[in-house]
Each structure stands twice: as structure tokens, then as C-alpha cells.
Symmetry: C2
Amino acid sequence: MDNEFIKQEMNVTGEGFLPGLAIDTVIFGFHDDELKVLLLSYKHTDLYALPGGFIHVDEDVNEAARRVLFSRTGLINIFLEQFYVFGDKSRHDATPLKTIMKARGFTPPEDHWLLKRFVSVGYYALVDFTKAIPTPDSISDSCDWFGLDNLPTLMQDHRQIIGKALQTLQANLDHKLIGFNLLSENFTMGDLQRLYETVLNKKLIRAAFQRKMLALGILERLAKKWTGGAHKAPYLYRFVARD
Amino acid sequence: MDNEFIKQEMNVTGEGFLPGLAIDTVIFGFHDDELKVLLLSYKHTDLYALPGGFIHVDEDVNEAARRVLFSRTGLINIFLEQFYVFGDKSRHDATPLKTIMKARGFTPPEDHWLLKRFVSVGYYALVDFTKAIPTPDSISDSCDWFGLDNLPTLMQDHRQIIGKALQTLQANLDHKLIGFNLLSENFTMGDLQRLYETVLNKKLIRAAFQRKMLALGILERLAKKWTGGAHKAPYLYRFVARD
DNA sequence: TATTATTGTATCATTTTGTTACAATAATAA
DNA sequence: TTATTATTGTAACAAAATGATACAATAATA
């Protein structure tokens, strides 16, 4: 029996947390021309789950989401936004947690706070894949990136949560200019276009894309990048906020 | 002392509701070329509040929002969407509710469930002003429409909630084509343009507006409408979903 | 019957977007 | 050293969308 675990993560009263309310975060990264999300593998089950957590009684909900994001990636000052509240009564499923608890030698009472219905606030984050340091939490074996069309079996409604997060990302990519958050600080126009094409899942016209991005006046052109490829070296760009 | 009130609305345990979670609904209507919201005036205080409520333990959060909307307006099948979760710890203020309770002869204990911190899921609804039947709830004196630039003093962060709802409406008006929900079934092009101008708070070019709306292919042209004005009678239109 | 206000739409100018083309490289092969 | 190749940056033109103006078609009123 893991006393530390039970004390910290599965205390009997749920004291110190807002009851019945949770956070689930879809953390997007971009690598190998693929959009990926960070997933935890739950101990003693074959299920995966989104990084999530609970809200301390003296903590803003948005703060809690930043804390979760930091705990799983080590990152601060990251694009992070609410996108939906998952509040259907049918989404509740205590089985995986019960399994984990029992495997740890703890048989929870039926009315244990963690086994009750939870409403979850969905957040999505856009991070630089190369900067994030995936870190499992105490009830997980691992924390890893998964390509969006290569997702493992997920807990509860976490697959739907990812789906809705992707929809939101697609809808906001352009007019909120949030795509840059998925790239490293310096990037080529090709990098940016491949990102857009991956997220929107459609081909874009190169000349028009470049013209449009440059016309936005939010890109600073830096030195050229010698790629080692048999062709002209592309410029590097950096995102700069307007005014 | 109002026993019914205390039993139904301010029961000591909060039994039957999800704890710490509430719903606030910004119900928009359009009348006299003005965008209006439905507000309740709280008994025994000079404060106004958004229509809101709590979520039954066996009820989806979205269901609860529809129930609130129906209770205050008598309307079903209405455009209603989540737009933000208001979860800052600082938004909590138990004073108005305490005042109401005391005025009713009920002195609540400090740990009464209604006086604790609440996280609120914000919804906005778009309704036909002429169809809604404003109906106060049991802790309110009245339920009335208020013009957006003529709002009374509101409880807690309800003013910010309205502000954020308006931003969401403005951002979604065009690409989600939700404006029609604010008009009655049949309307003239002028009605529609005035609605757009009011929501977006800017003048639109009449010819271009008409051309664009007609090009969308979502308007059915009906008989002309004799307005009694000294000019050509405008057509009436009806919104029809595509495909 | 003329006047007035508004509607519906045509017309042309301007801006934005789609498409094609081509010069400018940076590596590799001949 | 000199082609060859792949990709980049941008020009040039076409097509589509939007802005701006104009005007004929009413429906009431004078």
C-alpha cells in the first residue's frame, strides 16, 4: 500500500479541492509534420488519459489549468485556453480509478469523492514540442506524445474532448494567429505552411500563403537558414506581436 | 419566514445539486434597434442578476442551462451555447444572498452551501424578443429586459459575464450565422442589417450587405411587406438552413 | 400628379485571393 | 568547373469578393 499516494492524490475527503470539478487539458505539439497530444498511461490499466487535475479551494480555475500544464511539461507562459465544459452525467465512469486504487491496496468506499460524478473544464494548450518535458503524474506510468491519428484507447470521453479541442484549434488558428505557438521561436515559411496544412488538414497555395503571412506584418525576417538541402536557403522568421 | 422558499431554493444541505457549480445565462433579445439582456432584480437588495441556477445531480450541465432558459422565458429550441467558465476565486461574494436570507428571517450558518465559492458556466442565448415571457424566479421581484448600455448595478461579476458574452456573440455572428435567432421568423433585409449593425456596433454598406446575405443562399424570399411607409415595400425573408 | 423615402439591383472601382511563371540560390552530379 | 536538381521568394495576371455610387421601382403623402 502506497501511503504517500493515498494521502496526496487520493485522500478520502478530497479536502482542499473543489468538489465534483476537474480540468482536462489537451496539450498540442507539432513534430514530424504531425499534430500530437500529450497523454498519460494509467497505472494498472491499459487506458490512457489527458493530463488533468483538480482545483484547489484557494485557486482560480485558470490557475489550476496552468499548474496542470506546468506539471506535465515544465512550461510557463504558454497559450492555454478554455474551450468547453464537459458536463454530461453519462460521462462519469469510476471503473478505471477503482482499478488503480485496488491495485494499490486501497479499496475505496462507494462514496469516495474521486468516484463521484465530475464536471470537467476542457483546456487546450499549444506548446513547442522541443521545449516540453513530458512528466507523468503519480497515478501514471508514462507521459508521452501521440499522433492525432494514432491515439490509444482513452478513458471516459477523453477522445471526444480531443476532437472538440481540435475543432476549436482549427476554427481559431487563422483569426487568432495562434499557430506560431506550436513552432519553435524561429521557423521558415515552409515550417509555418506545413503546420497550417496539418492543422487544417488541407493543401494551401504556397505563393498566396507566403504573401498573406507577410502582409499580416507580424513576422520579422531573420538570417537565412542553411538547411543542407539542394536548393536556395529559406529565411528564418520570428513572430512579433503587433504594436 | 418563508418556509417554501427555504425548503426549495435555499435548503441547508444543497442536496440534489452539484456542489460549487452554477450556471449563468446571458439571454439576448433585439428590440427597438437595441440589444437587450434579461435580468432579475433580487428581492431585498438593489442588485440585479443574470438568470442562473444549479445543476441537478442527475442532469447534464447543458440540460440545466436549457431548464434555466425555459424557466425565465418559456422558450424551447433556442440557440444556447456555453461561452466561458467563470472560475476566479475572487468572484465569490456571499453578501447579497446573506441579505436576502436574513430579510426572509433565515440566518444562514457561515458554511451554508449557497455562501460557498461557486464556479459558474456561462451560457448565452439568442431569443425572439416578442416570444419570450420574462418570468422571475423565487428570489427575485422581477424579470425584465435591459438595454446593453443601460444596465443596472449587477451582482458579483455579472457585468463582466455580459461583456464576454457580447464579445462571443460579435465574434460568432457572421461565420456561425446565428443572428437570425434574434429576429422573428419573417424579417426584412433592413431588419437584418440593423441587427448586424447593432451587434457589431458599426455601420455596414447596404448594397454589399444585401448582396452578401442573398449570396449565402440561406434566405427564402416571401411576399412583400406593406409597412405604411412612404416608400417601396420591402420583401420579407425567412431563414432556411442549407441542404 | 408630383414629391419623398426607401428598396432592390446594376455598375464600376478597389482589394483580396487563386494561379502560373520565373529568377535566385544551395547542394549534388557530371 | 559546370550542369542539374529542388526549393524559395516574388512578380504578374486572372478571378473573386468587397466597397462605393447610381438609379429605377415603388408606396405613401402632399
